[in-house]
Symmetry: C2
Subunit: 406 residues, 2 copies
């Protein structure tokens, strides 16, 4: 990935993003970090999610700033037809002609009459219009409500839990944003092959249902009639759970392979005990499904072995087994451990100042997009209207005086 | 999306997938559903994750089948150099010449000497090699251990919880798989523009850290020194949580806008009470941050209003407010509600039979890839070796007799 904006493999793509919340902004962030020019259009004064919590002392949204790094911000009065037409001009390629990498709108709203697929297609036949909705029928839904209706909270949390447990991480929003990015690139590849644009739609609930299907949950419920309940931090289907060391360090342990398993029972001195248990239960712990079936007794033995050793001793012991293990960290502990280099660089974000922020996790030829600041409301209105639409500074000044742009 | 394989916008792309578990297989699934030809290479006898739980009565993995729908399965002895060279032939384009859409390997292992980026690049200069690792330094990690170290379990689960709560949904695996798909398409676009291939790397831990950064968690911990604890099913930063109706239906409610809020307090008859509380607390509940700050008292009042009404009454009441709400469903309840049409079609998967399975959530021009069966071990060995490598049936028979392919 390039360290200069616009120099990645998506160089030459221009994407207009009319968005809010997490999923659609994330798609623009990801595509921008790969080299696309991403123009986020907002209502005058800023999008409603500009002020979403958490905020810095001066009121700048840390959340908004995180999701909109490196975008160009254009403020337009979307309540007026002239404002919407200006945005449509930006999508289709206005005065300066239709750029081949333009003609792409990514949005989570279809309520603006001049910015629907049909309206834009009349102006540019090969337009790519990518729309995220909550429900497949166009209705509203958000990550937390989609979570509730698609099953995962019912299997998450304490094993004795009487209540479902939502995931604080908005996993469906993240997945939807990345599906949108994939959809943009697939449609753009199709356009380069055939000359035809595309209408791309994605529903947040379908993202969740497709994942529940891909992971086997829906087939299991239909075919086996198995309704899994929550089981704390036990990993399903293999041996893994959390433990605590003698000095109170809680860590996650996942035993994936038979070599992990054998080294683990040797290193903890539990080999004889485990073999005796195998015999008693007529089980073969070399088989991951059997380890899972007998996880309760395995866990009891491991618990005792770990509870007598401090983390300083357990850490090298676990490393020697090559099983996967990590101590739990709070965000505070995680933040304290961050260092510049790799994914992180120091970012001076106007509104809240210097901190370490992540760039793109995708590394292309040993390079990746660094974290860059998110824009102020309307920061690039002049640049974009003059550059992309070929307006003169006087024309932009007139539009601003008219209250159409900010 | 097309209903015939190979007819989507990614038609002409050939991707060799050498993978296991969730993330890398998901990337192949997503790209395949958009029209790419995806060849999953497995060790003779099948990849280790072929038998992963849950399984059907005859032992077929529901999980494996869900993640590998529509792929071509080729079985090769990867422990022998001749086997690995055969796979390398498949990647670079063998006897039949280098197809422009070929030369792409997506994998989560770099341990095969003939299949590294450097080895493949010597044979095809424009190869695209996409590698997922657990850690950035190439070390191992899995979704559950990455969860532990990147903070989210510490803010998930019951507010009084003494233990962190892992998400059963492998969100980082899903996000990584979709990042890989995005990376493949970005690199392929770059190759079409410049003729140059790319080495693409992604670490599961970087995916999690990038998301924690994009959502503001890392900036918050660094700048504000705020260490959020778990808060049950409360939505952070706006008004949302779960409630129970008089007849025991638990549902999630999210109030996103001031109109949602006003309609909600009118419909529940709580307007006067809420205004009195606003006065007493010197708060303005038209502001979402204030609703969040005062969520405890708001919740107490709503709880009582909801607890006196059965779901049959609450459901239309909530719908009239346009706030987001959904009852919780277990996977069993979700499966019972599935109907063919839209995302789902009936799939007859060998090994476990007919059920409703999801296709691609991405809808292009009103079409999308339906669910199709996952392949048996080696189901396409002959087809692929003859078709893509131009071998004759006799040559494949010789390789099979030699134990090199299955």
């Amino acid at each position: 990935m390039p360290e200069t904006p616009g120099a990645g493999p998506l160089r030459g793509l221009r994407i207009v993003e009319l968005s809010s919340y997490v999923a659609t902004p994330l798609s623009g962030l990801v595509l921008g970090q790969l080299g696309a020019e991403v123009i986020r259009v907002e209502q005058l004064g800023g999008a409603p999610d500009r002020t979403r919590l958490p905020r810095s002392a001066d009121g700048t949204s840390l959340y908004w700033s995180g999701l909109n790094k490196g975008k160009k911000a254009v403020a337009v009065d979307l309540t007026r037809p002239e404002g919407r037409r200006l945005v449509a001009d930006l999508v289709v390629g206005g005065g300066a002609g239709q750029t081949p990498g333009g003609g792409i709108l990514v949005t989570n709203t279809d309520r603006h009459p001049d910015l629907t697929y049909d309206a834009l297609r009349e102006r540019r036949a090969d337009v790519i219009h990518v729309l995220l909705t909550g429900r497949r029928d166009g209705g509203n839904a958000v990550d937390y409500t989609v979570q509730a209706e698609t099953g995962f909270p019912s299997v998450t949390g304490p094993a004795d839990g009487a209540r479902p447990t939502n995931s604080v991480l908005p996993a469906w929003d993240l997945a939807a944003g990345l599906y949108l990015a994939t959809g943009v690139l697939a449609a753009e590849r199709g356009r380069r092959e055939t000359g035809r644009g595309a209408r791309v739609r994605l529903a947040l609930e379908d993202v969740a249902l497709a994942a529940a299907g891909a992971l086997g949950y829906l087939a299991e419920a239909q075919l086996a009639g198995i309704d899994r309940g929550p089981s704390g931090n036990d990993v399903y289907g293999t041996y893994g759970r959390d433990f605590v060391s003698a000095d109170g360090v809680r860590f996650m342990l996942v035993v994936l392979t038979v070599s992990h398993w054998r080294r683990l029972i040797d290193a903890t001195g539990l080999a004889d005990a485990m073999h005796a248990v195998e015999k008693a239960l007529d089980a073969d712990f070399d088989d991951e499904a059997e380890r899972y079936r007998c996880r309760s007794v395995i866990g009891s033995l491991l618990e005792r072995a770990f509870a007598t050793r401090p983390w300083s001793e357990l850490e090298p012991l676990l490393r020697s087994t090559r099983a996967l293990s990590s101590p739990y960290r709070t965000f505070d502990q995680l933040a304290a451990d961050l260092r510049p280099g790799g994914l992180f660089n120091e970012l001076d974000q106007p509104g809240f100042g210097r901190h370490l922020a992540p760039g793109s996790p995708l590394v292309l030829d040993d390079r990746q997009a660094p974290a860059v600041p998110a824009p102020r409301v309307g920061e690039h209105t002049d640049e974009v209207l003059c550059g992309a639409l070929g307006l003169g500074p006087d024309e932009v000044a007139t539009l601003r005086a008219d209250g159409l742009v900010g």
